[in-house]
Point group: C2
Chain length 215, copies 2
Amino acid sequence: MVGAATVSGLRERKKQQTRDALIASAQRLFAAQGYEGTTTGQIAEAVDVSQRTLFRYFANKDEVALAPLDEAQDSFAAALRARPRRETPMTAMRAAMGSVFSGYADDESGPRRLRALGQTFDLIVRTPSLHATHLRRVADREAQIAAIVAEREGVDPVADPRPRLAAAVFDAALQVASTCQRNEPGELDPRALYAELERTLDALPGIFGHWRRTT
Amino acid sequence: MVGAATVSGLRERKKQQTRDALIASAQRLFAAQGYEGTTTGQIAEAVDVSQRTLFRYFANKDEVALAPLDEAQDSFAAALRARPRRETPMTAMRAAMGSVFSGYADDESGPRRLRALGQTFDLIVRTPSLHATHLRRVADREAQIAAIVAEREGVDPVADPRPRLAAAVFDAALQVASTCQRNEPGELDPRALYAELERTLDALPGIFGHWRRTT
DNA sequence: TGTCACTTGTCAGCGACTGACACTAAAATC
DNA sequence: GATTTTAGTGTCAGTCGCTGACAAGTGACA
């Protein structure tokens, strides 16, 4: 339920093809040589395209590396929109994340996409500059999520801080959960990560107050 | 209580001087021409130093721009360490932030440092690449804060997710509060920002559950 | 079929950043 | 106080990310 609608023209199809090829080429090279060890020229050359063309498709090198995440983030927003309004915001976000993960199990191309996702996260963890850009993109997404939550709850998205707060707190939990989960690189296990996320979210209300003799 | 101990050697003193001069020069130029509109060569030239030397003091252009934040972040960590252990983690962090802000009122050099801080935040908001680096640095600080909290509470800093969670949630609240407060650029009002932070932190437990007819 | 709009390659250039080397001046040693 | 050691700096040449401008090729559409 994520794939973009296939477009008609030959031109459009070719464009999509080279874009996909560039992303795939980048992933391969980054995995082999690391992010900084790979030049944009190499990525382009492997697809038989000029470097200039690469920069017509992507604003910068970061965007090529982080492109695999767009799909997952889009599907999270879509899943959140689809949740019934009777659920609380936090519950809805949690459930939306659950359906994103299970989406990778349904599809036949799931494993491949999941591997790409895992590789991208490994790259982010290993590369500070990429980590920085990733965090900014996540912050941008938070605004989108906050808007969806505000609409669900019928509150003012700018005057009321709660939508932004809820989105930010959810992302914080996701962040913490993923650092717990992915101590060693390798395959990304969506089931384990989701379990960790649930544990983290459950621990959330407990951080207020004292912790002593509750460990 | 933040300033580094004045060092003895002439060499050390000169080094500190050029470092400070580079930061000041960068701030002036960034304010006048923006971040991207200013070259590292210009910053160095204004201090009568080669560009190469600038890059011996700072790893990259971002670090020059964000240097004014180091002091504030250091003083937050110090203030948190100084809070009595009877306070809950969230209360301690809130109070620590309070004493950071009031620290700018005590000192005679406070207003100047506060203006520098405000300018830096304006720059961050206006400059995406700087925003990205800033977020990564904040994430790095979170680990430090989490470690302090873990020690305060006597829990394991890696096995227990709560320290990291508390630090991340606090930062999320700070982030939301500051976007509420600083809609238009200009002077940074620490009193108003702290009031907004308190309001945001108070709203935090309320984001769980439903919001309807509670607006 | 011919025109038009769009995509691409080439090239020249800027700015961030780095390694190597020579030079100068503070600092430590005698 | 003279000398040897050490640390900081400037210069230079080079790589890489990224951009503007122009020319050439190729799908779209009448």
